[in-house]
């Protein structure tokens, strides 16, 4: 039992959060040779955060979120190839392209729930994957898109070989969109999403425009996923079909489950765990890294509903109880 309402206190920051962001900034100085993988971590954290908004907060189960990541990546690359090389507006346009698709299919898609929804979201991303594969004149097909480049960020910071600009640029987007998502889930709209997740039918009976709310959350999430995809394209200077693949959709769900669904920081913690474990496990044994990820996933699901953050929360509660009982 909590003394206050967590749901209505989401807007207040906890000082311990600063630690996370300091770690990300510290990475920049401490591991200059690992900035490339750190950039991937930040981008996937952003992508996982976009998924958390729909999966964690609105209860929309999807296995096709790569569709929006991929559209963002291709849009960014195509705009740059076409001559629009300013990175920030490029990323925003890419986000809008993804949001546009979500807004178009959302009203029909979100009438579904559970397994049918999973299947349809998978189908949508599979169709996009095949379409991108076939339209090789536009997307480069199997070869992907390369030979595009971007102007310096803010006109000041050129894209360096060692990836300093890439890392800070991606981190900037993550911080900005994190603040945005946090505002949204703390708002009355965010509370309504929680209600829909808990009991969709009942929300309808208190007069809530359920589908409208879901479409908005889904569109915002697609916008963020699109930006994550765009940043991926911008920092890698390369886009391949992989961004639209089912693996990408599944990876991001696994990251979120590992970190903790519906907790904002779950996405931010799950992405580094997944990517770093995968990286080092693959170095250790290139054939069996999946085994380690699988074991982690089982532990997270079996012992920590709520992922790593859930486990930490229960350890903290256990210490608090232990302290409480020792007091006279």
């Amino acid at each position: 039992m909590t003394a206050r309402s967590e749901l209505l206190e989401r807007h207040s920051y906890n000082p311990i959060e600063a630690l996370y962001w300091l770690l990300l900034i510290g990475t920049f100085f401490a591991f200059p040779n690992y900035l490339s993988i750190a950039t991937t971590v930040v981008i996937m954290a952003l992508f996982a955060l976009s998924l958390d908004l729909v999966l964690g907060f609105a209860g929309i189960v999807t296995l096709g979120h790569a569709a929006y990541f991929g559209i963002g990546a291709y849009t960014a690359a195509l705009l740059a190839s076409g001559g629009w090389r300013e990175p920030i507006i490029d990323a925003v346009l890419a986000g809008l392209a993804s949001a546009g698709l979500a807004l178009m299919i959302g009203p029909a898609l979100l009438l579904l729930d559970g397994l049918p929804l999973i299947m349809v979201t998978m189908a949508v991303s599979a169709i996009l994957f095949e379409a991108a594969n076939k339209a090789s004149w536009l997307t480069g097909g199997d070869d992907g898109l390369r030979d595009f480049s971007f102007l310096p960020v803010f006109g000041l910071f050129p894209w360096s070989v060692y990836g300093q600009t890439s890392y800070l640029y991606a981190l900037g987007w993550l911080a900005l969109l994190f603040v945005l998502v946090r505002r949204v889930v703390s708002s009355p709209f965010g509370v309504a999403l929680q209600g829909i997740r808990e009991n969709r039918a009942r929300m309808r009976l208190i007069g809530s425009p359920v589908i409208g709310h879901l479409v908005r959350a889904y569109t915002l999430s697609a916008f963020m996923a699109g930006i994550a995809g765009a940043v991926h394209a911008q920092t890698n200077k390369f886009v391949s079909l992989e961004v639209l693949g089912i693996d990408t959709s599944v990876d991001v769900v696994v990251m979120l489950v590992l970190g903790g669904i519906g907790r904002l920081y779950g996405a931010l913690i799950g992405a580094p765990i997944y990517i770093l474990v995968k990286h080092f496990a693959a170095e250790w044994n290139p054939y069996h890294w999946m085994f380690i990820i699988g074991a982690l996933l089982i532990v997270a699901v079996r012992f920590g509903y709520g992922g790593l953050l859930g486990i930490l929360g229960r350890i903290e509660a256990w210490f608090a109880r232990a302290r409480g009982t020792r007091k006279p």
């Binding site: 039992m1 709209f189 929680q194 808990e198 208190i206």
Partner: protein, 259 residues
């Protein structure tokens, strides 16, 4: 004066079975009306017709004079026709305050606000807390629905309904499944509801009906057998005979004071 809620010759048939048969009811503003009847009389179907879960085959429903016969459930709620459920239907993982907040926020049109913090909307929280206080739930407002007693859950049902500013409130067997000690708490709460709301209570328990109702209608076989003051209805031979044969006789007369 226009009635708060009025039905004209409402009918609903399932296959060959006429479940609701030409039901005409009239609830003036501030009504305290009870609908009683044996099992299978069509009470639940009538509630479903009124709340919009089911569509009537024929007949009309007027809410404050406006025809809502074909309106959706959501639309009816927006227009002020709110119901509670026989089996509690709440957000079980959320606290009492959060449940009521959801309804208040929806009613005040705040649920589209995406960027203001819900926790800083003091107006919404205070309104929710006032309603919780009114139903005597203040001490439990931070407990989850799944953690509180069933009787309290019924009170939360009413709190959620009240948050929607009803003009007409349908209470579907509010006392069903709760211990009699808690029934009296529930009735206290119902008695404190704003007097201008018209309330239609579907109820089996005659103790409850006697305490609550100023007017009683008896539904039998889908039809209104009679409507009248509680003591008239309860002393009617015709009504008695309907309940006879079902073990209901004893329960039925239990509510009538000794002469």
């Amino acid at each position: 004066m226009t009635a708060a809620l009025e039905t004209f010759d409402l009918c609903k048939t399932f296959g060959a079975l006429k479940v609701v048969d030409r039901v005409s009811l009239r609830l003036p503003q501030g009504a305290r009306h009870a609908l009683i009847g044996p099992n299978g009389a069509g009470k639940t179907t009538l509630v479903q017709l009124l709340s919009g879960v089911l569509r009537a085959d024929s007949g009309r429903i007027l809410l404050a004079g406006a025809d809502i016969t074909t309106s959706s459930q959501q639309r009816r709620v927006k227009q002020g026709l709110v119901r509670t459920f026989q089996v509690t239907n709440l957000f079980r993982g959320l606290s009492v305050l959060e449940n009521v907040f959801l309804a208040v926020s929806e009613r005040q049109g705040a649920s589209r606000q995406m960027f203001a913090a819900a926790g800083r909307r003091r107006d919404l929280i205070e309104r929710a807390e006032a309603i919780i206080e009114q139903l005597g739930l203040a001490g439990d407002r931070h407990r989850r629905i799944s953690e509180i007693a069933y009787g309290q859950q019924r009170l939360v049902e009413i709190a959620v309904a009240l948050s929607l500013d009803p003009k007409v409130l349908l209470l579907d067997e509010p006392a069903a499944g709760i211990p009699s000690r808690e029934t009296s708490l529930l009735l206290d709460a119902v008695e404190r509801l704003p007097p201008d709301i018209a309330i239609l209570m579907i109820e089996h328990d005659m103790h409850v009906v006697r305490r609550f109702a100023r007017e009683v209608s008896v539904l039998v076989g889908g039809r209104i057998l009679m409507t009248g003051l509680p003591h008239e209805v309860m002393s009617s031979q015709e009504v008695h005979s309907v309940y006879l044969g079902q073990a209901g006789q004893k329960r039925f007369t239990a509510g009538v004071p000794h002469v």
